[in-house]
Subunit: 370 residues, 2 copies
């Protein structure tokens, strides 16, 4: 029996819509041509709309981690002090990146599932007025928390430190206003809210960030921001771009901006609210304190191991949700409604599958309680 | 009038065959699953066959330059002496990469169009017995020269220096035997002989190279070889892989290894010989002294600027060849027969188009002479 196409409800990669898949298979063209420049020019304008910025957005052929590294090696210098906020796996990654490149890291650590507190960032900046940057995550995919970027940007923009935000996850799902909020650096990847396959990463830098970059002494080549910005001015890249993924990006930006970014945010908010409500109605609790609209991270009730639920949804219904990562493995189901799956029908299918899987392991919700 | 599909006769990117384009558009799956491991495992075995090695071949989501950088940052240390052989733009890139990361570079410079001489490498190693590595290019795409990797490997493998070969261009076109020749490091990209879109890069490392990597003190994160090798042992990657390009890689390896790599090499040799013969028959001369089978770099006769030929082939026949790069712009047409275009029909179309374009600018070959 032929199974229905897999429904991917993981928080990245996300399901890629048909028009984007179709774009990926367009024949190869050479990237140093007017034909490619026309596509890349359109894409670059679209990326600015997506990031809500007038600043340049650089595209790299890499995964999101590559653009995180690009932000570190281009803006910072050996021995620079940075404040790294973390409350999950991806926040830790940004901290680790700064350490690998010889920065002195002041940590603001919050427990997994909690959000970074702006007051702690203010105190850290007061205690370390020589800090060059604050590093933080937008949507911490490992816990489902969306961190308060707007509030923290309100602090950093009046400080001497730039704010660097890893928005690989959360972009085009939860509202993020780079220019209006005063975020200096925004990093993004292709395989989440952008509904593309992995393989592209983005780095937006405002003037404050570009000035800092001019003083950076860290070694870089493939991820060289100066070279990328110079090429970008001619709708070009220093090294060969991932042309077919850029075809896909043109299609996905068309879908997102055609719908209108605020409408896309609203759609995520509406579906997230519905999913959260039903999850609570099943007597389950949410893991994060400030949940993203792209992802519902569900704590497991006593006696239920998430592996069993995930395995049964996968084998019985061809629906894929994610387990917890690292210390949260077995303790969490991460149910994404991100990009093209932030819609009634896939969310409904996910909720039904999860309800059946819970019943399959003997979990019985009674009047919203176990 | 609908124009025929563009024929891409540039030396990377190359035309992507239909079965590979079709593979690119397969629906997204999650990369931390057995389904993906099965594909990646098959691909990893295929890459070893392609590289003619039993050693691990790491895949990065990046362009080829990323894997060149990976070879430098993982094997070398600050202050290490390296011998960089160059006779074109890509050889210079490898040298520049080593310099950016603080290596002391001994240059073996040959004029554009010439091949590196093994004797010079032997002398350099005798003069610098403390050199940790020899860096060289396999097919120097900017000039069409294939450098004598086998002969140089015969020297380096009896020395204390590892041989690092940038085979981004040339792989699956000109014969390259990593293990049999004793090449320590081979770098490759996706958009040339592999007939894929750009966006994947590869790094194969033998035991000598892995031992050197253990002592490396250069900073790295995204391109961390140790992390990649550890993940590779489980058919995994440290960071999100470019899944759809890996689908394409599975298809392209299927085509290449299905035909048989030695047959693919023979096909390139046969077409290259034919193209070279006809080019000479037109009274034109070849630029490189040791031409690759993947690419015919044609010097322009007096009074002919290559831009005019390239523009007319493009607009009249929808055939794209490449100009010379940097100081060779205007002085050269680079006619690739690489991957899927190393066949009678596309080569014939290219030769006919070039002949007509030459006539269009008033060039008249007479009995093989002007």
């Amino acid at each position: 029996m032929a199974q229905a196409r897999q429904l991917l409800l993981t928080p990245g990669p996300t399901d890629v819509p048909e028009p984007v898949l179709e774009a990926l298979r367009r024949p190869m063209i050479h990237h140093r041509t007017k034909d490619y420049q026309a596509i890349f020019g359109k894409v670059n304008a679209g990326l600015k709309e997506l990031f809500r910025t007038r600043e340049p957005v650089v595209t790299f052929a890499s995964s999101g981690t590559g653009a995180m590294e690009a932000s570190v090696v281009n803006l910072l210098s050996r021995g620079d002090k940075v404040i790294a906020c973390h409350a999950g796996k991806f926040g830790e990654r940004y901290r680790d990146l700064a350490r690998v490149y010889g920065c002195e890291v002041v940590e603001i650590r919050r427990p997994y599932g909690k959000a970074v507190r702006p007051g702690e960032v203010r105190e850290a900046l007061q205690g370390h007025p020589d800090a060059k940057a604050v590093l933080m995550t937008f949507l911490e995919t490992s816990t489902g928390v969306v961190h308060p970027v707007e509030d923290i940007a309100g602090i950093t923009r009046r400080s001497g430190a730039v704010l660097m935000v890893d928005a690989v996850s959360g972009m085009a799902c939860d509202p993020l206003e780079m220019d209006a909020w005063g975020v200096d650096v925004v990093v993004c990847g292709s395989q989440k809210g952008l509904m593309l396959p992995p393989g592209l990463a983005f780095l937006a830098v405002n003037e404050r960030a570009r000035e800092l970059a001019e003083r950076s002494d860290l070694p870089k080549y493939y991820f060289h921001l100066g070279a990328a910005l110079k090429a970008l001015a001619k709708e070009d890249t220093p090294y060969t771009p991932a042309v077919n993924l850029v075809y896909g990006l043109e299609a996905s930006l068309g879908l997102i901006l055609g719908e209108g970014l605020p409408k896309v945010w609203e759609r995520h908010a509406k579906i997230a609210s519905k999913v959260r409500g039903e999850i609570k109605g099943l007597g389950l609790s949410l893991f994060p304190e400030n949940p993203s609209n792209a992802l519902t991270a569900i704590s497991m009730p006593e006696g239920v191991v998430s592996d069993a639920l995930i395995k049964s949804m996968r084998s019985e219904e061809n629906i894929v949700m994610a387990n917890g990562q690292a210390q949260l493995k077995g303790k969490m189901v991460r149910f994404a409604h991100m990009g093209d799956t932030a819609r009634e029908e896939p969310a409904r299918r996910g909720l039904n599958a999860l309800t059946r899987a819970l019943a399959g392991v003997g979990y019985v919700p009674v009047n919203g309680k176990r």
